[in-house]
């Protein structure tokens, strides 16, 4: 109970729970869309999803400053690639929050004469760019981990064992690919934070991809990906060891 209270007292913790609920509703609405007996349940779920989304937009009103502060911090990192990727990601996220705030003002009625669709597309574009830069950073981290592992003598012995044993079971079609995949999987397994971050960013990527029309999936896929990335977000917040730093 204490841990739950502590988790929800963080603004980010609550936001992730609401996000998970929002995408769970979206997924349920998609799954039940053809079920004629559950029409009022579907209506309730849609209403819940809209309410959560509207509430979250209000709660996110101050996040632009958070992102700018984060960008200022990441500008001082020593590693050039990390510095570039993270600063770009944070800057894009700040722009996304600005668009989001404008959309909130439009929804609430404070600003009347703006093009909602255009601002929504801009918000999706900024979000998409921030995810792409985050994924670039993840790829860079994975490459560094793999290079580090390849130099490790203990790991090389393990690799030898794996390659030799698999030749008894079935000949590897492309032994280099097999070795590469083994190296990749071992690196990800030894650093779960990186693996979780990659998975979260890939899941999140489907949302703007669908919205911008680059890769049209359906509402069910978007809902599922959103739910999965929110759950991973909750896990990384509850277990700080699993969070990728910086």
């Amino acid at each position: 109970m204490d841990a739950v209270v502590q988790f929800t007292s963080q603004s980010q913790g609550r936001d992730r729970i609401f996000r998970a609920t929002q995408y769970a509703c979206a997924l349920s609405v998609y799954l039940l869309r053809n079920n004629s007996e559950r029409k009022d349940l579907v209506a309730k779920l849609k209403s819940l999803e809209t309410n959560m989304s509207a509430g979250r937009k209000l709660f996110r009103l101050g996040n632009t400053i958070n992102s700018i502060e984060a960008a200022k911090r990441t500008m001082q990192l020593s590693d050039r690639v990390l510095c570039l990727c993270l600063t770009a990601a944070n800057a894009n996220r700040a722009l996304y929050f600005i668009c989001d705030n404008v959309l909130w003002a439009r929804n609430v009625g404070l600003i009347r004469d703006i093009d909602k669709e255009r601002w929504s597309l801009n918000a999706s574009r900024c979000y998409f760019l921030s995810l792409v830069t985050s994924l670039t950073r993840d790829v860079y981290e994975v490459i560094q981990l793999m290079a580090q592992k390849a130099r490790d003598r203990h790991f090389r012995q393990k690799m030898e064992l794996h390659l030799n044993e698999s030749s008894e079971v079935a000949e590897a079609v492309i032994p280099q690919l097999d070795a590469f995949l083994f190296l990749l999987l071992e690196s990800l397994r030894s650093h779960p934070a990186v693996a979780l971050d990659v998975l979260k960013n890939v899941c999140d990527l489907f949302i703007p991809l669908d919205r911008l029309g680059i890769y049209q999936s359906n509402a069910g896929v978007v809902g599922f990906c959103g739910l999965l990335s929110s759950v991973i977000g909750i896990v990384t917040l509850a277990q700080p060891k699993l969070r990728l730093r910086p």
Binding site: V5, T8, G55, F59
Partner: protein, 251 residues
């Protein structure tokens, strides 16, 4: 900027800011109405207020648990009066949040059969009980501190001259004797409050807050302008206690 990030990361701080904005909208709506503003501006302001109120209800969805945890902690206090006041106050707050959650479910359409007016009145009643208990606790703390201050003053200065009119034939008139006592008590009160800012802030906050349920329950209707001003003041005081944790009354 750093302090904003830290402040914003607390869920309670965010809720307080939204509360301040909500009551500012109430006050603004009242002022605009008095000033004869356009109908659609009034409509926008009231819509904004309703949106903030509903979003705050969403943000408060888990607070019953927090209030119960606070009640569990308050049971272990050593002072009997404090223990009683605080435990019952937290329990009433937990009930208030439970009613609030039901109201949220009703307003968003999840449970359409909810009688919104009945549950709203119920939640305001629990809120009123909470505030009454908080004020009782404030008065108790004030009384203890005033006692302590009076004893401290008595021990520091020599005893004042005895009233010499005990043998006189004048009819005893309570007013000249009562007045110095009253002014002494007032002076004590002001001194104690001045030297204990957490108690002063808590007292002011509870006094401002109590007008809200009193108005909504119809016990002492004051009008939306006054309610808005009181709500805004108490929210700002509450934000001050979050920004400066030493200003929070403990326990």
């Amino acid at each position: 900027m750093e302090s904003w990030v830290r402040f914003n990361s607390q869920s309670q701080a965010k809720e307080r800011i939204i509360r301040a904005a909500q009551y500012a909208c109430t006050l603004l709506g009242y002022t605009l109405q008095k000033g004869g503003a356009a109908a659609d501006l009034l409509h926008t302001v009231s819509q904004l207020e309703a949106h903030m109120s509903l979003s705050r209800k969403l943000l408060r969805l888990g607070n019953s648990v927090e209030a119960l945890e606070a009640a569990k902690r308050a049971i272990h206090l050593s002072d009997g009066v404090l223990r009683l006041c605080l435990t019952i106050s937290h329990l009433n707050r937990a009930m208030y949040f439970a009613c609030d959650n039901i109201l949220w479910a009703g307003k968003t359409g999840l449970v359409p059969e909810v009688d919104l007016h009945k549950w709203s009145q119920r939640s305001f009643r629990y809120y009123l009980f909470t505030l009454i208990l908080n004020l009782t606790r404030d008065v108790y703390e004030l009384h203890l501190l005033m006692d302590r201050e009076a004893r401290y003053r008595a021990s520091k200065s020599p005893p004042s001259a005895q009233p010499s009119s005990s043998l006189s034939a004048d009819p005893p008139s309570p007013t000249p004797e009562a007045l110095p006592w009253l002014s002494r008590q007032l002076h004590l009160l002001v001194t104690v409050l001045y030297t204990n800012p957490p108690l002063l802030l808590d007292l002011l906050k509870n006094l401002c807050d109590i007008f809200i349920p009193l108005d909504r329950l119809g016990i002492r209707p004051t009008g939306s302008g006054f309610v808005g001003a009181c709500g805004l003041t108490s929210s700002l005081l509450s934000i001050a206690t979050i920004l400066h944790p030493w200003l929070k009354l403990k326990p």
